[in-house]
Amino acid sequence: MVENETQKQTEQEISNPINLSILPMTSTVKVYGPPNSAAVSRVLACLLEKDVQFQLIPINLVRGEQKKPDYLKLQPFGQVPVFQDESITLFESRAICRYVCDKYANQGNKRLFGTNPLEKASIDQWLEVEGQNFYPPTSVLVFQLAFVPRMKIQQDENLIKQNEEKLGKVLDVYENRLGESRYLAGDEFTLADLSHLPMSRYLVNACGRGELFTSRKNVGRWWDEISTRETWKKVNEMQNSQPRQNA
Protein backbone atom coordinates (compact mmCIF):
# COMPACT_ATOMS: atom_id res chain seq x y z
CA MET A 1 0.00 0.00 0.00
CA VAL A 2 1.14 3.56 -0.54
CA GLU A 3 0.97 6.24 2.10
CA ASN A 4 0.52 9.88 1.24
CA GLU A 5 3.38 12.19 1.98
CA THR A 6 2.11 14.69 4.49
CA GLN A 7 5.25 16.74 4.88
CA LYS A 8 5.67 19.83 2.72
CA GLN A 9 7.69 19.35 -0.42
CA THR A 10 10.55 21.78 -0.63
CA GLU A 11 12.88 22.15 -3.59
CA GLN A 12 15.55 20.45 -1.46
CA GLU A 13 13.41 17.35 -1.00
CA ILE A 14 12.74 16.98 -4.71
CA SER A 15 16.30 15.81 -5.20
CA ASN A 16 15.92 13.11 -2.53
CA PRO A 17 14.16 9.81 -3.10
CA ILE A 18 10.53 9.90 -2.02
CA ASN A 19 9.63 6.95 0.17
CA LEU A 20 6.04 6.09 -0.44
CA SER A 21 5.95 2.58 0.97
CA ILE A 22 4.92 1.71 4.51
CA LEU A 23 8.12 -0.26 5.12
CA PRO A 24 10.66 1.59 2.99
CA MET A 25 13.54 -0.73 3.70
CA THR A 26 11.78 -3.86 2.48
CA SER A 27 10.74 -2.49 -0.89
CA THR A 28 13.18 -3.48 -3.58
CA VAL A 29 10.97 -2.07 -6.30
CA LYS A 30 12.17 1.27 -7.61
CA VAL A 31 10.66 3.51 -10.27
CA TYR A 32 12.77 6.32 -11.67
CA GLY A 33 11.07 9.41 -13.08
CA PRO A 34 8.79 12.32 -12.20
CA PRO A 35 5.19 11.29 -11.39
CA ASN A 36 3.91 13.93 -13.81
CA SER A 37 5.42 12.13 -16.77
CA ALA A 38 2.71 10.19 -18.61
CA ALA A 39 4.81 7.06 -18.99
CA VAL A 40 5.91 7.12 -15.35
CA SER A 41 2.33 7.57 -14.11
CA ARG A 42 1.25 4.61 -16.24
CA VAL A 43 3.62 2.40 -14.23
CA LEU A 44 2.63 3.96 -10.88
CA ALA A 45 -1.05 3.30 -11.58
CA CYS A 46 -0.27 -0.33 -12.41
CA LEU A 47 1.83 -0.84 -9.25
CA LEU A 48 -0.96 0.61 -7.13
CA GLU A 49 -3.57 -1.60 -8.79
CA LYS A 50 -1.39 -4.61 -8.02
CA ASP A 51 -0.69 -3.55 -4.40
CA VAL A 52 3.05 -3.50 -5.02
CA GLN A 53 5.14 -1.37 -2.67
CA PHE A 54 7.66 0.82 -4.44
CA GLN A 55 10.08 3.67 -4.04
CA LEU A 56 9.81 6.58 -6.46
CA ILE A 57 13.13 8.15 -7.39
CA PRO A 58 12.57 11.54 -9.01
CA ILE A 59 14.41 12.46 -12.18
CA ASN A 60 14.45 16.15 -13.12
CA LEU A 61 13.73 16.23 -16.84
CA VAL A 62 14.14 20.00 -17.08
CA ARG A 63 17.68 19.65 -15.71
CA GLY A 64 18.29 16.83 -18.18
CA GLU A 65 19.02 14.19 -15.52
CA GLN A 66 17.66 11.53 -17.87
CA LYS A 67 20.54 12.22 -20.29
CA LYS A 68 23.31 11.89 -17.70
CA PRO A 69 25.70 8.90 -18.10
CA ASP A 70 24.54 7.16 -14.89
CA TYR A 71 20.93 7.23 -16.00
CA LEU A 72 21.76 6.22 -19.58
CA LYS A 73 23.23 3.00 -18.15
CA LEU A 74 19.69 2.19 -16.99
CA GLN A 75 17.77 3.57 -19.98
CA PRO A 76 19.98 4.05 -23.03
CA PHE A 77 17.38 6.12 -24.92
CA GLY A 78 17.38 8.70 -22.12
CA GLN A 79 13.67 8.35 -21.36
CA VAL A 80 11.59 7.79 -18.23
CA PRO A 81 10.57 5.57 -16.50
CA VAL A 82 12.98 2.88 -15.45
CA PHE A 83 11.77 0.05 -13.24
CA GLN A 84 14.03 -2.01 -11.01
CA ASP A 85 13.44 -4.94 -8.71
CA GLU A 86 15.68 -7.68 -7.32
CA SER A 87 15.67 -9.57 -10.65
CA ILE A 88 15.58 -7.01 -13.42
CA THR A 89 16.03 -3.47 -14.71
CA LEU A 90 13.36 -2.67 -17.25
CA PHE A 91 12.19 0.24 -19.39
CA GLU A 92 9.18 1.03 -21.64
CA SER A 93 6.14 1.65 -19.43
CA ARG A 94 3.82 -0.81 -21.19
CA ALA A 95 6.43 -3.60 -20.93
CA ILE A 96 6.90 -2.76 -17.23
CA CYS A 97 3.14 -2.96 -16.66
CA ARG A 98 2.92 -6.38 -18.33
CA TYR A 99 5.85 -7.65 -16.22
CA VAL A 100 4.34 -6.34 -12.99
CA CYS A 101 1.01 -8.02 -13.83
CA ASP A 102 2.72 -11.34 -14.59
CA LYS A 103 5.06 -11.28 -11.60
CA TYR A 104 2.37 -10.23 -9.14
CA ALA A 105 -0.45 -12.19 -10.77
CA ASN A 106 -1.79 -13.40 -7.42
CA GLN A 107 -2.14 -10.09 -5.63
CA GLY A 108 -4.00 -6.84 -6.02
CA ASN A 109 -6.29 -6.53 -9.03
CA LYS A 110 -6.07 -10.05 -10.43
CA ARG A 111 -8.04 -9.24 -13.54
CA LEU A 112 -5.83 -6.38 -14.66
CA PHE A 113 -4.14 -8.48 -17.35
CA GLY A 114 -6.80 -11.16 -17.77
CA THR A 115 -6.95 -14.65 -16.34
CA ASN A 116 -6.64 -16.68 -19.56
CA PRO A 117 -4.95 -16.33 -22.97
CA LEU A 118 -8.03 -15.06 -24.80
CA GLU A 119 -8.62 -12.30 -22.25
CA LYS A 120 -4.92 -11.42 -22.38
CA ALA A 121 -5.06 -11.23 -26.18
CA SER A 122 -7.96 -8.79 -26.08
CA ILE A 123 -6.15 -6.65 -23.51
CA ASP A 124 -2.97 -6.73 -25.59
CA GLN A 125 -4.98 -5.71 -28.64
CA TRP A 126 -6.41 -2.61 -26.94
CA LEU A 127 -3.04 -1.84 -25.33
CA GLU A 128 -1.59 -1.80 -28.84
CA VAL A 129 -4.49 0.38 -30.00
CA GLU A 130 -3.61 2.81 -27.22
CA GLY A 131 0.05 2.79 -28.15
CA GLN A 132 -0.40 2.93 -31.91
CA ASN A 133 -3.70 4.76 -32.56
CA PHE A 134 -4.55 6.83 -29.48
CA TYR A 135 -1.15 7.92 -28.25
CA PRO A 136 0.33 9.46 -31.46
CA PRO A 137 -2.35 12.11 -32.17
CA THR A 138 -2.84 12.70 -28.43
CA SER A 139 0.85 13.31 -27.84
CA VAL A 140 1.00 15.85 -30.68
CA LEU A 141 -2.04 17.67 -29.27
CA VAL A 142 -0.67 17.67 -25.72
CA PHE A 143 2.68 18.95 -26.93
CA GLN A 144 1.12 21.71 -29.04
CA LEU A 145 -1.55 22.78 -26.55
CA ALA A 146 0.13 22.30 -23.16
CA PHE A 147 3.87 22.49 -23.73
CA VAL A 148 4.49 24.73 -26.76
CA PRO A 149 2.93 27.82 -25.10
CA ARG A 150 5.35 27.39 -22.16
CA MET A 151 8.26 27.16 -24.57
CA LYS A 152 7.37 30.44 -26.22
CA ILE A 153 7.35 29.03 -29.74
CA GLN A 154 4.52 29.24 -32.23
CA GLN A 155 1.76 26.65 -32.11
CA ASP A 156 1.19 24.79 -35.37
CA GLU A 157 -2.51 25.30 -36.07
CA ASN A 158 -2.53 22.81 -38.95
CA LEU A 159 -0.96 20.11 -36.84
CA ILE A 160 -3.50 20.75 -34.08
CA LYS A 161 -6.44 20.54 -36.47
CA GLN A 162 -5.11 17.39 -38.21
CA ASN A 163 -4.54 15.57 -34.94
CA GLU A 164 -7.85 16.61 -33.42
CA GLU A 165 -9.51 15.04 -36.46
CA LYS A 166 -7.39 11.89 -36.20
CA LEU A 167 -8.12 11.52 -32.52
CA GLY A 168 -11.81 12.19 -33.13
CA LYS A 169 -11.97 9.29 -35.58
CA VAL A 170 -10.22 6.99 -33.11
CA LEU A 171 -12.65 8.02 -30.37
CA ASP A 172 -15.58 7.32 -32.68
CA VAL A 173 -14.40 3.70 -32.82
CA TYR A 174 -14.04 3.71 -29.03
CA GLU A 175 -17.61 5.05 -28.79
CA ASN A 176 -18.91 2.00 -30.69
CA ARG A 177 -16.76 -0.40 -28.74
CA LEU A 178 -17.76 1.03 -25.37
CA GLY A 179 -21.38 0.63 -26.37
CA GLU A 180 -20.72 -3.14 -26.59
CA SER A 181 -18.66 -3.58 -23.44
CA ARG A 182 -18.12 -1.67 -20.24
CA TYR A 183 -14.38 -1.34 -20.72
CA LEU A 184 -12.19 -1.64 -23.80
CA ALA A 185 -11.12 -5.27 -23.55
CA GLY A 186 -14.33 -6.54 -21.96
CA ASP A 187 -16.44 -5.95 -18.90
CA GLU A 188 -13.55 -5.54 -16.46
CA PHE A 189 -11.10 -2.66 -16.01
CA THR A 190 -7.76 -3.79 -17.43
CA LEU A 191 -4.30 -2.56 -18.42
CA ALA A 192 -5.82 -1.47 -21.73
CA ASP A 193 -7.99 1.14 -19.98
CA LEU A 194 -5.28 2.03 -17.46
CA SER A 195 -2.86 2.79 -20.26
CA HIS A 196 -5.11 5.63 -21.47
CA LEU A 197 -5.21 7.46 -18.15
CA PRO A 198 -1.98 9.51 -18.30
CA MET A 199 -2.37 11.20 -21.69
CA SER A 200 -6.13 11.58 -21.26
CA ARG A 201 -5.49 13.46 -18.04
CA TYR A 202 -3.26 15.89 -19.92
CA LEU A 203 -5.85 16.24 -22.67
CA VAL A 204 -8.63 17.06 -20.22
CA ASN A 205 -6.76 19.09 -17.59
CA ALA A 206 -3.92 20.78 -19.44
CA CYS A 207 -5.38 21.17 -22.94
CA GLY A 208 -9.02 21.88 -22.23
CA ARG A 209 -10.07 19.12 -24.62
CA GLY A 210 -12.34 17.21 -22.22
CA GLU A 211 -15.23 17.54 -24.60
CA LEU A 212 -13.53 15.07 -26.95
CA PHE A 213 -14.62 12.55 -24.32
CA THR A 214 -17.74 14.16 -22.87
CA SER A 215 -19.34 14.76 -26.27
CA ARG A 216 -19.35 10.98 -26.77
CA LYS A 217 -21.84 9.22 -24.50
CA ASN A 218 -20.01 5.91 -23.97
CA VAL A 219 -16.51 7.36 -24.03
CA GLY A 220 -17.63 9.98 -21.52
CA ARG A 221 -19.05 7.31 -19.22
CA TRP A 222 -15.86 5.24 -19.56
CA TRP A 223 -13.58 8.20 -18.89
CA ASP A 224 -15.60 9.13 -15.83
CA GLU A 225 -15.32 5.61 -14.44
CA ILE A 226 -11.63 5.04 -15.07
CA SER A 227 -10.45 8.50 -14.02
CA THR A 228 -12.21 8.27 -10.65
CA ARG A 229 -10.65 4.98 -9.63
CA GLU A 230 -9.00 5.16 -6.21
CA THR A 231 -5.62 4.10 -7.57
CA TRP A 232 -5.64 6.83 -10.23
CA LYS A 233 -6.66 9.39 -7.62
CA LYS A 234 -3.61 8.34 -5.58
CA VAL A 235 -1.39 8.86 -8.63
CA ASN A 236 -2.96 12.31 -9.07
CA GLU A 237 -2.14 13.12 -5.44
CA MET A 238 1.47 12.16 -6.05
CA GLN A 239 1.46 14.35 -9.16
CA ASN A 240 -0.16 17.32 -7.44
CA SER A 241 2.26 17.21 -4.52
CA GLN A 242 5.18 17.79 -6.91
CA PRO A 243 5.89 21.42 -7.72
CA ARG A 244 6.69 22.00 -11.41
CA GLN A 245 10.28 21.02 -12.22
CA ASN A 246 12.68 23.95 -12.54
CA ALA A 247 16.08 24.06 -14.15
Binding site: F77, L90, R94, A95, Y99, D102, D124
Partner: protein
Protein backbone atom coordinates in the same frame (compact mmCIF):
# COMPACT_ATOMS: atom_id res chain seq x y z
CA UNK B 1 -9.40 -24.93 -39.30
CA UNK B 2 -6.60 -22.64 -40.43
CA UNK B 3 -5.97 -19.12 -39.21
CA UNK B 4 -7.12 -16.50 -41.70
CA UNK B 5 -4.81 -13.50 -41.99
CA UNK B 6 -6.33 -10.45 -43.65
CA UNK B 7 -3.96 -8.05 -45.35
CA UNK B 8 -1.60 -7.82 -48.33
CA UNK B 9 1.74 -9.65 -48.11
CA UNK B 10 3.59 -6.48 -49.13
CA UNK B 11 2.51 -4.45 -46.08
CA UNK B 12 4.72 -4.28 -42.98
CA UNK B 13 2.17 -5.17 -40.32
CA UNK B 14 0.76 -8.29 -42.04
CA UNK B 15 4.38 -9.36 -42.69
CA UNK B 16 5.02 -9.24 -38.96
CA UNK B 17 2.16 -11.69 -38.37
CA UNK B 18 2.96 -13.98 -41.32
CA UNK B 19 6.61 -14.30 -40.25
CA UNK B 20 5.57 -15.23 -36.72
CA UNK B 21 3.07 -17.86 -37.88
CA UNK B 22 5.62 -19.43 -40.23
CA UNK B 23 8.28 -19.45 -37.45
CA UNK B 24 5.77 -21.30 -35.25
CA UNK B 25 4.67 -23.68 -37.99
CA UNK B 26 1.06 -22.49 -37.76
CA UNK B 27 -1.00 -23.07 -40.90
CA UNK B 28 -2.73 -20.01 -42.25
CA UNK B 29 -4.69 -18.71 -45.20
CA UNK B 30 -3.75 -15.27 -46.47
CA UNK B 31 -6.76 -13.20 -47.52
CA UNK B 32 -5.28 -10.34 -49.46
CA UNK B 33 -6.83 -6.89 -49.03
CA UNK B 34 -6.62 -4.24 -51.74
CA UNK B 35 -5.42 -1.23 -49.77
CA UNK B 36 -5.30 1.07 -52.77
CA UNK B 37 -8.99 0.71 -53.46
CA UNK B 38 -9.75 1.16 -49.76
CA UNK B 39 -11.05 -2.38 -49.23
CA UNK B 40 -9.89 -2.18 -45.60
CA UNK B 41 -12.61 0.46 -45.01
CA UNK B 42 -15.40 -1.71 -46.41
CA UNK B 43 -18.21 -2.53 -43.93
CA UNK B 44 -17.27 -6.23 -43.96
CA UNK B 45 -13.65 -5.54 -42.99
CA UNK B 46 -14.50 -2.82 -40.49
CA UNK B 47 -16.27 -5.55 -38.54
CA UNK B 48 -12.93 -7.33 -38.22
CA UNK B 49 -10.77 -4.24 -37.73
CA UNK B 50 -12.83 -1.19 -36.76
CA UNK B 51 -9.95 1.26 -37.37
CA UNK B 52 -9.78 0.17 -41.03
CA UNK B 53 -6.21 -1.08 -40.76
CA UNK B 54 -4.43 -4.34 -41.56
CA UNK B 55 -3.88 -7.01 -40.43
CA UNK B 56 -6.67 -8.81 -38.64
CA UNK B 57 -6.93 -12.53 -37.94
CA UNK B 58 -9.81 -14.95 -37.70
CA UNK B 59 -9.17 -18.23 -35.90
CA UNK B 60 -12.52 -20.00 -35.79
CA UNK B 61 -14.67 -17.68 -33.72
CA UNK B 62 -11.69 -15.85 -32.29
CA UNK B 63 -10.75 -12.54 -33.86
CA UNK B 64 -7.84 -10.25 -33.14
CA UNK B 65 -6.17 -7.19 -34.63
CA UNK B 66 -2.94 -5.20 -34.01
CA UNK B 67 0.05 -7.19 -35.32
CA UNK B 68 2.03 -7.03 -32.07
CA UNK B 69 -0.95 -8.35 -30.08
CA UNK B 70 -1.43 -11.14 -32.62
CA UNK B 71 2.19 -12.26 -32.49
CA UNK B 72 2.22 -12.19 -28.67
CA UNK B 73 -0.89 -14.40 -28.61
CA UNK B 74 0.42 -17.02 -31.03
CA UNK B 75 3.95 -17.03 -29.60
CA UNK B 76 2.50 -17.82 -26.18
CA UNK B 77 0.06 -20.38 -27.57
CA UNK B 78 2.64 -22.34 -29.54
CA UNK B 79 5.64 -21.98 -27.26
CA UNK B 80 7.51 -25.27 -27.16
CA UNK B 81 10.94 -26.71 -26.55
CA UNK B 82 11.85 -26.12 -30.16
CA UNK B 83 10.75 -22.52 -30.49
CA UNK B 84 10.43 -19.90 -27.82
CA UNK B 85 9.80 -16.50 -29.31
CA UNK B 86 8.91 -14.89 -26.02
CA UNK B 87 11.78 -15.95 -23.79
CA UNK B 88 11.86 -18.83 -21.32
CA UNK B 89 11.60 -17.08 -17.97
CA UNK B 90 9.58 -14.19 -16.59
CA UNK B 91 12.62 -11.92 -16.91
CA UNK B 92 13.40 -13.01 -20.48
CA UNK B 93 9.76 -12.38 -21.40
CA UNK B 94 10.00 -8.92 -19.88
CA UNK B 95 13.11 -8.10 -21.93
CA UNK B 96 11.43 -9.39 -25.09
CA UNK B 97 8.46 -7.17 -24.32
CA UNK B 98 10.72 -4.20 -23.59
CA UNK B 99 12.42 -4.39 -26.98
CA UNK B 100 9.11 -5.06 -28.71
CA UNK B 101 7.88 -1.81 -27.15
CA UNK B 102 11.10 -0.05 -28.23
CA UNK B 103 10.35 -1.15 -31.80
CA UNK B 104 6.74 0.04 -31.51
CA UNK B 105 7.50 3.38 -29.84
CA UNK B 106 11.01 4.42 -30.89
CA UNK B 107 11.68 2.69 -34.22
CA UNK B 108 8.38 2.19 -36.03
CA UNK B 109 7.14 5.82 -35.90
CA UNK B 110 10.34 7.06 -37.54
CA UNK B 111 10.40 4.44 -40.30
CA UNK B 112 6.65 4.84 -40.84
CA UNK B 113 7.15 8.55 -41.50
CA UNK B 114 9.96 7.79 -43.92
CA UNK B 115 7.72 5.31 -45.78
CA UNK B 116 5.01 7.96 -45.92
CA UNK B 117 7.32 10.70 -47.19
CA UNK B 118 9.50 8.67 -49.52
CA UNK B 119 6.96 6.25 -50.97
CA UNK B 120 3.30 6.82 -50.21
CA UNK B 121 3.02 10.58 -50.78
CA UNK B 122 4.98 10.70 -54.07
CA UNK B 123 2.87 7.83 -55.42
CA UNK B 124 -0.31 9.81 -54.82
CA UNK B 125 1.15 12.92 -56.40
CA UNK B 126 2.16 14.74 -53.22
CA UNK B 127 5.44 16.41 -52.42
CA UNK B 128 8.01 14.81 -50.09
CA UNK B 129 8.77 17.03 -47.11
CA UNK B 130 12.56 16.81 -46.94
CA UNK B 131 12.65 18.49 -43.51
CA UNK B 132 10.57 15.64 -42.08
CA UNK B 133 12.79 13.11 -43.86
CA UNK B 134 15.96 14.66 -42.47
CA UNK B 135 14.44 14.89 -39.01
CA UNK B 136 13.49 11.20 -39.05
CA UNK B 137 16.92 10.18 -40.33
CA UNK B 138 18.69 12.09 -37.57
CA UNK B 139 16.49 10.55 -34.89
CA UNK B 140 16.84 7.10 -36.44
CA UNK B 141 20.63 7.39 -36.34
CA UNK B 142 20.47 8.02 -32.59
CA UNK B 143 18.12 5.07 -32.07
CA UNK B 144 20.38 2.80 -34.13
CA UNK B 145 23.37 3.93 -32.08
CA UNK B 146 21.61 2.52 -29.03
CA UNK B 147 20.86 -0.69 -30.93
CA UNK B 148 24.55 -0.89 -31.89
CA UNK B 149 25.54 -0.59 -28.25
CA UNK B 150 23.02 -3.25 -27.23
CA UNK B 151 23.83 -5.69 -30.03
CA UNK B 152 27.55 -5.42 -29.40
CA UNK B 153 26.88 -7.05 -26.00
CA UNK B 154 23.98 -9.31 -26.88
CA UNK B 155 23.46 -11.51 -29.93
CA UNK B 156 19.79 -10.57 -30.20
CA UNK B 157 17.90 -7.66 -28.71
CA UNK B 158 16.39 -9.48 -25.73
CA UNK B 159 19.33 -11.84 -25.12
CA UNK B 160 20.95 -14.90 -26.64
CA UNK B 161 17.95 -16.13 -28.60
CA UNK B 162 15.90 -14.78 -31.48
CA UNK B 163 12.58 -13.48 -30.15
CA UNK B 164 9.52 -11.48 -31.21
CA UNK B 165 11.54 -8.35 -30.44
CA UNK B 166 13.91 -9.07 -33.34
CA UNK B 167 11.13 -10.43 -35.58
CA UNK B 168 9.13 -7.24 -35.17
CA UNK B 169 11.92 -5.22 -36.78
CA UNK B 170 12.08 -7.25 -39.98
CA UNK B 171 9.47 -5.45 -42.14
CA UNK B 172 10.55 -1.87 -41.41
CA UNK B 173 14.27 -2.64 -41.63
CA UNK B 174 13.71 -4.31 -45.00
CA UNK B 175 12.26 -1.00 -46.20
CA UNK B 176 15.31 0.93 -44.99
CA UNK B 177 17.60 -1.52 -46.81
CA UNK B 178 15.63 -1.38 -50.06
CA UNK B 179 13.17 1.24 -51.29
CA UNK B 180 14.12 3.57 -48.45
CA UNK B 181 17.66 3.82 -49.83
CA UNK B 182 18.95 3.99 -46.26
CA UNK B 183 20.98 0.78 -46.04
CA UNK B 184 24.00 2.80 -44.95
CA UNK B 185 22.29 3.39 -41.61
CA UNK B 186 22.48 -0.36 -41.00
CA UNK B 187 25.74 -1.13 -42.80
CA UNK B 188 27.64 1.62 -40.96
CA UNK B 189 26.91 -0.13 -37.65
CA UNK B 190 28.82 -3.40 -37.35
CA UNK B 191 26.65 -5.18 -34.77
CA UNK B 192 23.38 -3.92 -36.22
CA UNK B 193 24.54 -5.12 -39.64
CA UNK B 194 25.39 -8.64 -38.47
CA UNK B 195 22.12 -8.79 -36.57
CA UNK B 196 20.19 -7.78 -39.69
CA UNK B 197 22.08 -10.32 -41.83
CA UNK B 198 21.26 -13.01 -39.28
CA UNK B 199 17.56 -12.31 -38.78
CA UNK B 200 16.81 -11.61 -42.43
CA UNK B 201 18.25 -14.92 -43.53
CA UNK B 202 15.88 -16.94 -41.36
CA UNK B 203 13.76 -19.30 -43.49
CA UNK B 204 10.45 -17.91 -42.20
CA UNK B 205 11.33 -14.38 -43.32
CA UNK B 206 12.53 -15.66 -46.67
CA UNK B 207 9.17 -17.39 -47.15
CA UNK B 208 7.35 -14.13 -46.42
CA UNK B 209 9.52 -12.39 -49.01
CA UNK B 210 8.52 -15.11 -51.50
CA UNK B 211 4.84 -14.49 -50.70
CA UNK B 212 5.46 -10.84 -51.34
CA UNK B 213 6.80 -11.62 -54.81
Amino acid sequence: MVVKVYGPAYAACPQRVLTCLIELGVEFELVSIDLESGEQKSPKLLLLQPFGLVPAIEDGDFRLFESRAIIRYYAAKYASSSIELLGNTLEERALTDQWLEVEAQNYNPLVYNLVLQLMVLPRSGHRTDMTVVQNCKTKLEKVLDVYEQRLSKSKYLAGDSFTLADLSHLPNTRFLMNEGGLEHLVKERKSVHSWWTDISSRPAWKKVMELNN
